[in-house]
């Protein structure tokens, strides 16, 4: 009886260890393939990971957000939130952003900063794409800016860079993976539907992602940090919005 029991216990333990090892191995492999999101913990982390992994496997195929005709640009383009009222932002706004600079640091060869004129002198990209808010409304607009991949190339990111973090004048911070960072439709936009970025839409510079919901396209950018881990920044979940129910990955 004891032998029988101990053998059963042994088999169970063995299976447990094997299953745990297999799971651990799978998680490590998935992580290496870039299939584990920054907020993978907890019960919701399970579905977040399934969604992120599923869509990242899918976007290994040719993946370009639809672009539209100029005639399809929406008459109204609403925004949530207003321009920051903080002193540094208001001072830069007063000077028409002549003194504004975008700082880039972290895992880069040449950390530094760019003025708005410098960014505008880089090769630009204009795209007429859809912007959907997680609330349900959406609009189409034309965004013009410099592809993020160009700026990252300029500063020389390290090979093991994994996340690009963005910090704003209104206190938000968020991050994207390299798949989105290097995507041709990911731009640092300085104009929308005209020669400038409207104030409420994130002047002087905002991120414009084309394959995620609107809240990931942060406005009022001030700094970019390149990292290989989301853990060291803020609460370690990759975004200031995760705690409020906004997924880190919003490809939905």
């Amino acid at each position: 009886m004891t032998r029988h029991l101990s053998r059963r216990t042994l088999i169970k333990a063995g299976l447990g260890v094997a299953a745990g090892g297999a799971l651990g191995g799978t998680v490590r492999l998935a992580d290496r393939c870039g299939l584990i999101p920054a907020n993978h913990r907890g019960i919701y982390g399970l579905s977040e990971t399934l969604t992120y992994a599923g869509q990242r496997l899918l976007t290994k195929l040719p993946s370009m957000a639809r672009e539209f005709d100029r005639s399809q640009i929406s008459a109204v383009s609403p925004v949530n939130g207003k321009a920051p009222t903080t002193e540094p932002y208001q001072r830069l706004l007063g000077g028409r952003f002549a003194d504004w600079r975008l700082t880039i640091d972290g895992m880069v060869e040449r950390p530094g900063s760019f003025s708005l004129d410098e960014l505008k002198s880089f090769p630009s990209r204009s795209q007429i794409t859809h912007q959907a808010c997680e609330e349900g409304w959406s609009f189409i607009a034309e965004w013009t800016g410099v592809p993020l991949s160009f700026v990252l190339d300029r500063v020389g990111i390290h090979d093991n860079a994994k996340y690009i973090f963005f910090f704003t004048f209104d206190g938000w911070w968020d991050s994207i993976d390299m798949d989105d960072a290097l995507h041709p439709q990911t731009v640092l936009a300085y104009a929308m539907n005209g020669p400038e970025m409207p104030l409420d839409h994130g002047a002087p510079l905002r991120l414009k992602l084309s394959r995620q919901l609107g809240y990931k396209s942060l406005k009022y950018l001030t700094k970019i940090t390149v990292t290989d881990s989301a853990k060291s920044i803020g609460d370690g979940l990759g975004s200031s919005a995760v705690g409020a129910g906004y997924s880190w990955y919003a490809g939905i």
Binding site: L61, S74, V76, A132, E135, R211, L213
Partner: protein, 243 residues
């Protein structure tokens, strides 16, 4: 068709002794997974909808642009239900997708879908359909034979849910995903745009809710306890007649 026709007085124990459950274990398990998922998806869907209870047609839509329908619901923006609502919606979307895959993967080779769900050829006679409708209108309790198989209206409604509404609500959900449609734009363009897909998603949810309410009402009408027992234990499909 009728392998075992139990006589009306057949007790639960005898039915058990026959050995063949009214619903197979796979049907029972996937039924309850689906039931729980549906309720959570509906509640969390409402939480998401309340952030912007306006529906549009085409690619875009926002306050300030013409709507298709202004739902008579308040805009609820600052209540902490929407965040958990979204997380729950996607968690249970995955639960229902996996449940559906198991159901279909086992339902096809076991011929459950073919035998129990799709209407049989003889079902589409005027007489058969009229008999079912008459029984419903007269609030007739089902006979023992009725309880061993689905009638034509049951088959039609279950088939519509399984083969039409469920795949379409998943499809319109994916059509709202900017990442998925960046790979397969046709998923959204067939509906005429992202806002059209959102509107269709809403009406599919309404159709499923209607099915859910009628389904529960008819379960109550035909004997709540015996129907529940049949879907939980697999047995007891035959109601015990009061002696």
């Amino acid at each position: 068709m009728a392998q075992v026709v139990p006589v009306p007085r057949l007790s639960v124990e005898t039915s058990h002794a026959v050995g063949r459950p009214r619903h197979s274990a796979v049907v029972r398990i996937t039924h309850w997974f689906t039931a729980v998922s549906f309720v959570v998806l509906l509640a969390s869907g409402i939480a998401i909808l309340l952030a912007h209870p306006r529906l549009y047609w085409g690619e875009t839509g926002a306050v300030g642009s013409p709507s298709l329908i202004d739902l008579p619901l308040p805009f609820v923006l600052d209540v902490p239900i929407r965040g958990p609502g979204r997380y729950l919606h996607f968690l249970f979307a995955w639960v229902s997708v996996f449940t559906g895959l198991v159901y279909v993967a086992i339902g096809i080779p076991s011929r459950h879908l073919r035998t129990n769900l799709l209407p049989a050829r003889g079902d589409f006679t005027v007489r058969a359909i009229r008999r079912v409708i008459e029984n419903h209108l007269l609030f007739k309790r089902p006979t023992a034979e009725d309880l061993t198989t689905y009638n034509v209206l049951q088959r039609l409604s279950y088939s519509t849910v399984v083969f039409v509404l469920a795949p379409l609500i998943l499809w319109t959900g994916l059509a709202m995903s900017p990442a998925v449609t960046s790979v397969f734009p046709v998923l959204v363009t067939v509906f005429g745009g992202q806002q059209s897909a959102r509107t269709i998603h809403f009406f599919l949810a309404c159709a499923l809710m209607l099915f859910f309410m009628v389904h529960v009402a008819l379960v109550c009408q035909s004997g709540f306890r015996s129907r529940m027992r049949a879907m939980i234990t697999g047995h007891g499909g035959v109601r015990k007649e009061p002696s």
